[in-house]
Amino acid sequence: MKRLLASRWLGVAFIVALLILWELSSAFGWVSSLSWPRISAVFRALWEISVSGELFGELWPSLWRMFAGYFIGVAFGVLIGLLMGSFRTIYSLLEPVTEVLRPIPSPAYVPIAILFLGIDDEMKIFMIAFASFFPVLLNSYSGVRSVDPVLLQTAATFGVRGTRLLWQIVLPSASPYIFTGMRISLAVALIVMVISEMVAASNGIGYFILAAQRGFKIREMFAGVVTLAIVGYALNRIFLAIENFVLAWYQGYTQQQRN
């Protein structure tokens, strides 16, 4: 019993309990059941839209936009973060502008993005990229600043400088920080993807949820939200698996430092 209480099954059991509570609250009418369907009905709807292919028809465009935007944002974030961390002039040039732009909540510039890029994929990808960019930028910059100077000097003794130094030493050294930024950005990308699809779209999971709500297809609406939970969870797990693989050295290294 004690083992069970300490294990992750405790948390899983709690989720199951919440779902049962949901089911009962709807079945016995504790909550107005018109906008609060039974969870079993939600899962049935989820199953139906999955087998009919409707769900994937909405999910693919969403995931495509999200990843396109995410990777563009990450690429620019890493690149500019490395440059800002390595060159004082670039830092002085770009730091104020990033500090001004960063605090603006992403939804605020949707209208501007629509004006310039329309309401199609370009706008959404831009939004996602822009929002994913900042966490990666800041963390890459910190990563570069925290590279041990002895590692850089060691490379210098072997005649390594310039872009080779950046690529061979600075980038791997900063990679734990970069991954942290990328993990934050992944969550941000998911949020901005949904927002941008709710503002203006003719497909995508965000559009699907909003359209279901407007068409009083409440079960489908909840099914869409549950889908997002599953997608978000899966993306995070995949990300962690990749991070654990790529940064296996870092975990061993930090553990060793602590001893």
């Binding site: 002895v150 590692l151 003794t157 072997f158 005649g159 390594v160 050294s173 050295w249 870092y250 290294y253």
Partner: protein, 277 residues
């Protein structure tokens, strides 16, 4: 002595300025190093030993004077010399295995084929007796082993000159003896020229063909002592030879005076105060 020494340090001065304050670390150091010699530099802590070695390694410009290797002025890390950092745990790349760490210098300094790199890497891993640890990461190894990786990485580039800054200062006594023997063996087998910075007078005398004592900052050469002890040296018997003790007496006496640890009869009282070194 020939007209142009192999490595020459001429009136090297170094002044650091930070926050508007200027510290003169080196006040004009002159030193000629013959090819194939083993020179140790000792001196009070903070006198500028690391500074001097880094200038020789081309990692830092001097404020005045110059360093030449085979008559070429050192302005950047010279191909002939490799510098081994004191902080070896921070100098090895934690994301690279032992094999990749040792290969790193080679890959960047020489145009070798993949096979060439592999062969050379294994040769030098073998030379420092780390066979079987190729796939380990540095942080999985003991301090002494990590230092051997750093030495193998430097030597794999086949430099003529090995510059080492207190390489044995953070390992236990027995490991230190092992590393001293390793460096002595490599120096003899590979015909290297070694410049070693250390705070350990005994180590300096035991290993070297010449011991140079720097004065307190701003440092100048205060003693330049050729060490005439037979090779191969032996950790026990060499250290018992009267001449060894004589050298030790002179160097410690000078150091203690410089540190203000003994006065007047410094040289005579030095051996008794050995624990303080």
């Amino acid at each position: 002595m020939s007209a142009t020494p192999y490595l020459s340090i001429r009136s090297v001065r170094k002044a650091y300025s930070s926050h508007g304050r200027t510290t003169v670390a080196l006040g004009g150091v002159d030193l000629d190093v013959e090819r194939g010699s083993f020179v140790s530099i000792v001196g009070p802590s903070g006198c500028g030993k690391s500074t001097l070695l880094q200038i020789v390694a081309g990692l830092m410009p001097a404020t005045g004077g110059e360093v030449r290797i085979e008559d070429r002025v050192v302005r950047e890390p010279p191909p002939a010399a490799i510098y081994v950092f004191q902080q070896y745990t921070r100098s090895l790349y934690p994301w690279k295995t032992v094999e990749r760490n040792v290969a790193y210098g080679l890959e960047n300094r020489e145009a070798l084929t993949r096979e060439g790199v592999r062969a050379r890497t294994h040769e030098y891993i073998g030379l420092v007796k780390l066979d079987g640890f190729e796939r380990h990461y540095p942080w999985q190894l003991s301090g002494g082993m990590q230092q051997r990786v750093a030495i193998a990485r430097a030597l794999a580039c086949r430099p003529d000159v090995l510059l080492m800054d207190e390489p044995f200062s953070s390992v236990d006594a027995l490991t230190r003896v092992g590393l001293q023997e390793l460096v002595l063996r490599l120096w003899r087998e590979l015909g290297l020229t070694v410049i070693l910075v250390t705070h350990d007078t005994e180590e300096a005398i035991y290993l070297s063909t010449r011991v140079v004592v720097l004065s307190a900052s701003p440092a100048v050469v205060s003693i330049d002592l050729p060490i005439d002890l037979p090779h191969p040296r032996d950790q026990i018997t060499t250290r018992e030879q009267p001449r060894y003790l004589e050298y030790r007496h002179r160097v410690l006496g000078k150091l203690f005076t410089a540190e203000g640890l003994a006065t007047g009869d410094a040289a005579a009282s030095a051996p008794a105060a050995q624990g303080a070194a």
